[in-house]
């Protein structure tokens, strides 16, 4: 059996309300909540980045179950905001946990690099190359001030340790679907990404998620009613509900893992953190479907069954996702600009 052995998430303390962002940019303050389904988003502190979030998430996973560094054979870190353009985040993670013999690499695939990391580690464990591997999705995503992404681009991350012993959630199947669809991109040297506006919807998000979810359910011989929980990538609060409805899932199946209305889009952290929120409450036998989406564009889908081992995992040893969401300190737009290093200084 190959699957999740332990997991942990980290969401920064700071939040900005989307109505505050709308106030600055002259939009209707109710627009972000009504139009995008986002009330607030998480903001990294001045001294936080994708690497510090990755470390905190992994430490939370290790608080629940300690896996010694020498047993960790693989480390993949998925992010589109790695602190360095050249110099891996994964080597920092290896140093922090003392996993000096790990196969370590950084991944980037817009919002799906975290689930791509999970698939890589899953494959290496299944192939017998490693006993345990770390997969992290983490981001401090960038949105250009005044752009639609300013309302959603946020920060957070989740770490999974995948192995074959004492598995709390078995990964039964995983599939991917990918096409060259340029719905969102950031060119080398550019500070902020660009996007295709509404083009990010139908031919990108919906097409890839629906195709991957259907491929997975066909492979697993399942249908929507077989799942207790479903997590879809969540660039806003509305798309996951809409794609769920089109696939035949109910709001109740989606709710526990739908975090964007409160913390925004954590990009590579989004689907992994939604899954983490589900694992916080899951019971043995629960079946979970998780489908990510990364612009550019592709989706990774996972069919997961929670095992009896979850009762033995000390889930209270680290803060749960919804507890972290509810622990929030609100800041205004000026503080947000300062935290995100967006103030242009004139000396």
């Amino acid at each position: 059996m190959v699957g999740i052995v332990t997991y942990g998430s980290y969401i920064p303390l700071y939040r900005i309300k989307t109505a505050e962002i709308a106030r600055i940019w002259g939009d209707d303050p109710e627009h972000p909540e009504k139009g995008l389904g986002i009330k607030s988003k998480s903001v990294p502190a001045y001294d936080e980045d994708a690497a510090t979030i990755a470390v905190e998430a992994l430490r939370n996973a290790l608080r629940r179950k300690n896996i010694p560094g020498e047993k960790i054979g693989a480390i993949f870190v998925g992010s589109e905001s790695h602190p360095y353009a050249v110099k891996p985040t994964a080597s920092l993670i290896a140093e922090v946990v003392g996993a000096y013999k790990a196969h370590a690499a950084d991944l980037e695939f817009a919002c799906k690099a975290g689930t791509a990391a999970m698939q890589n580690v899953y494959a290496m464990v299944k192939a017998g190359m490693v006993d345990y591997g770390v997969a992290i999705g983490t981001d401090t995503s960038q949105g250009q001030p005044g752009d639609a992404l300013d309302y959603s681009a946020s920060a957070g991350g989740t770490a999974y340790i995948i192995g074959k012993d004492e598995v709390i959630a078995e990964i039964n199947h995983t599939v991917s679907f990918v096409t060259d669809t340029p719905d969102f991109w950031r060119r080398e040297g550019q500070r902020y990404p660009s996007h295709g506006g509404r083009f990010t919807g139908e031919p990108a998000y919906f097409k890839h998620i629906i195709t991957a979810a259907k491929m997975l359910m066909e492979k697993a011989s399942t249908e929507p009613k077989d799942y207790n929980y479903v997590i879809f990538h969540q660039p806003n609060g509305k798309f996951p509900l809409r794609v769920g409805k089109r696939l035949g899932f109910t709001k109740e199946q989606i709710q526990q893992g739908l975090l964007t209305p409160y913390i925004g889009n954590t990009y590579s952290g989004a689907t992994p953190t939604g899954l983490s929120a589900v694992l916080d409450v899951a019971k043995p036998g629960d079946r979970i479907l998780a489908v990510s989406f990364g612009s550019g564009a592709g989706s990774d889908a996972f069919d997961i069954t929670v095992t009896d081992e979850i009762e033995k995992l000390d889930r209270d040893a680290a803060p749960k996702v919804w507890d972290q969401i509810n622990r929030a300190k609100y800041i205004d737009y000026a503080q947000y600009l300062k935290f995100r290093r967006m103030i242009v200084e004139v000396d």
Binding site: L13, A45, T52, E95, V96, K329
Partner: protein, 134 residues
């Protein structure tokens, strides 16, 4: 900033690795290769020990006149943290309103950016502290 100097200290800065004297049991942070109390008896015998990251505020100050690189964080709190293992660590307390910090406040270590060598240089990571959940 000299890259090798920071590189040499990375394990203690990232993971709070100190040393313990096997003769008298005293824990040191930053790590020492010789116990000043036991001298020659401890040479070559010092053991690595990882601090738990837990602690209490022993003393603190609120910095309003920042050092270079900390302008965006002022006012910020610098504190001496007393650890249950023994050593007292100097570190910043973050994610807190400075006026809420008090002596005896329970805190724990978190992983943060400490400094960076301009826009093109290396980023130094290490420990800071946040208040424990109430």
């Amino acid at each position: 900033m000299v890259v090798p100097r920071f590189w040499r200290e990375r394990r203690s800065r990232y993971s709070l690795i100190g040393t313990k004297c096997p003769v008298c049991g005293t824990v040191y942070f930053p790590p020492r290769s010789v116990c000043p109390k036991c001298g020659r008896k401890s040479v070559g015998k010092m053991e690595e020990v990882q601090l738990s990251g837990k602690g209490k505020v022993y003393s603190y100050t609120i910095v309003h006149q920042n050092v270079i690189g900390y302008k965006y964080q002022k006012p910020y709190v610098m504190a001496i943290i007393e650890t249950p293992e023994g050593p007292k660590l100097t570190g910043q307390i973050v994610d807190v309103e400075p006026e809420k910090v008090h002596i005896g406040m329970p805190v724990h270590a978190v992983f943060r950016r400490i400094a960076e060598d301009g826009k093109a240089g290396i980023i130094q990571y290490g420990y800071k502290f946040v208040p424990d959940e109430e």
